[in-house]
Symmetry: C2
Subunit: 191 residues, 2 copies
Amino acid sequence: MPRVGMEPIRRAALVKATIAEVGLKGSLDVTVARIAKRAGVSSGLAHHYFGGKEDLLFAAMRHILTLYGASVRAQLLRAGTPRDRLAAIIRASFGPDNFEPHVIAAWLSFYVHAQSDPGARRLLGIYQARLGSNLTHALRPLASSRAPDIARTLASVIDGLYIRHALGGAPDGPQATARVLALADVLVDAA
Amino acid sequence: MPRVGMEPIRRAALVKATIAEVGLKGSLDVTVARIAKRAGVSSGLAHHYFGGKEDLLFAAMRHILTLYGASVRAQLLRAGTPRDRLAAIIRASFGPDNFEPHVIAAWLSFYVHAQSDPGARRLLGIYQARLGSNLTHALRPLASSRAPDIARTLASVIDGLYIRHALGGAPDGPQATARVLALADVLVDAA
DNA sequence: AACTTGATTGACTCATCAATCAACATAACA
DNA sequence: TGTTATGTTGATTGATGAGTCAATCAAGTT
C-alpha cells in the first residue's frame, strides 16, 4: 500500500517507536529491527529515512526536548505573577508527559549517552541553559541578584528528583512540583 | 608465571578494569575482552572468576558503593557537632574519589542499568536509603521532625548536582559541597 | 502506454562479542 | 615421582544486529 508523501508519517512513527522501545528496555540498547517492527515498517525503511541507528536516537532525543519546550511555553502562557511563572516552569518539568515511564527512561539514557556523543551533549546543554534561563528570569523580580544562584540550585533539584522518581516505582509529578516550589519559596525568602 | 592465591588479585584487577572501561566508554557497553586486556589477563579468565559479564558489572557496581560507604564513614569519624556530621556526609558524596570522571560515568550508567536489572536497583536502593538515613540522623538535632523531609530534598540535590557536574566538563566537588551545605542551612533555619 | 519517482521489503553480508572448551603450566602434596 | 588443585590461555562457536542492496510495487507524469 505504498502512497506518496509517507515520509513525515514514517519519521514520526519511527521516532515514537524509538522512544517506546528505549522506555521498554530502559536503555539505548535497542535494535533497529524492533523499532521498525513497532512502527509497522521494515528495518530497511528505518535506514532509508534516517541515516542509521545513531540518527534515529538523536531524532528521538530532539523530539522529547521539543515536547518539553512546548510544554513549558504552554504553561507560561497561563502565568501572571512571577511566582506563577516559577510554578509554571517547575510544573512543566514534572508534567505528566515528562513523567511517563518511557519518557523518564529516555531522559536517563540520553543523559548517559551525552557523555560520549557530542551531539547529545549539545542538546542537553540547550535544555539546561533554557531551564536555567527560564528559572532565572522568573526569579529575577523575586530575588534580584540572587536569582541565578537560586536558579542553579533549583535546576539541580529538578534533575535530582527525576532520578529519584525514575527509580522509585511510583512517580508523583504534583508532589515533586510542590517540593521544588516550596524550596524556591524558602530560598527566595532567605535574606 | 601462575602462582597459587591469585583469585583475589585477579578479581580486584578485573573490577578495577571494568570501572575504568565503563568510565572510558561512558556507558555499560563494554566488552569483556577489553576489560580482560586492561586487567592484563585473557578473556577466558574473566569468565572463570566471574560467572559472566553481568556478574562482573555487578561486582564493579558494588565496589563503587563500598568505596562510597567507606568514605562516608571516614568523614563521619572526624565530625563532632551535628552540623559537622551533615557537612561530612555531603563532603563524602562529593569527595574527589566519587568525582573522578570514570566513577561518575559508572554511577550514571548504573542508574540507567538499575531500571532493568533488579540486582542493580536493589544496590541503588541501599545507597539511597543509607544516604537518606545518614542525612536524617544528622539533621535530627537541627530540625527535629522536619529532618526527614529536608533530608529528602538534600538527597535529591546531591543526585542532581552529580548529573550537572558529570555533563559540565569541570566537576568541582568543593563547590558542590558548599552549595548543598548552604541549602541545608537555609532549610534548617526556615521555620 | 511508457516512464519516472518515491515507498517498501526482506534477504544478505559483515562484524562484534559473550561464552565455552580443550589444552597446558605451575604449585602443593602424597 | 606421580597426582591433584589452581591458574591461564586463545581458538572457537553461536548468536545477534547494523547496514546494504536488488527487486518490487504503486502513483503520478508525459
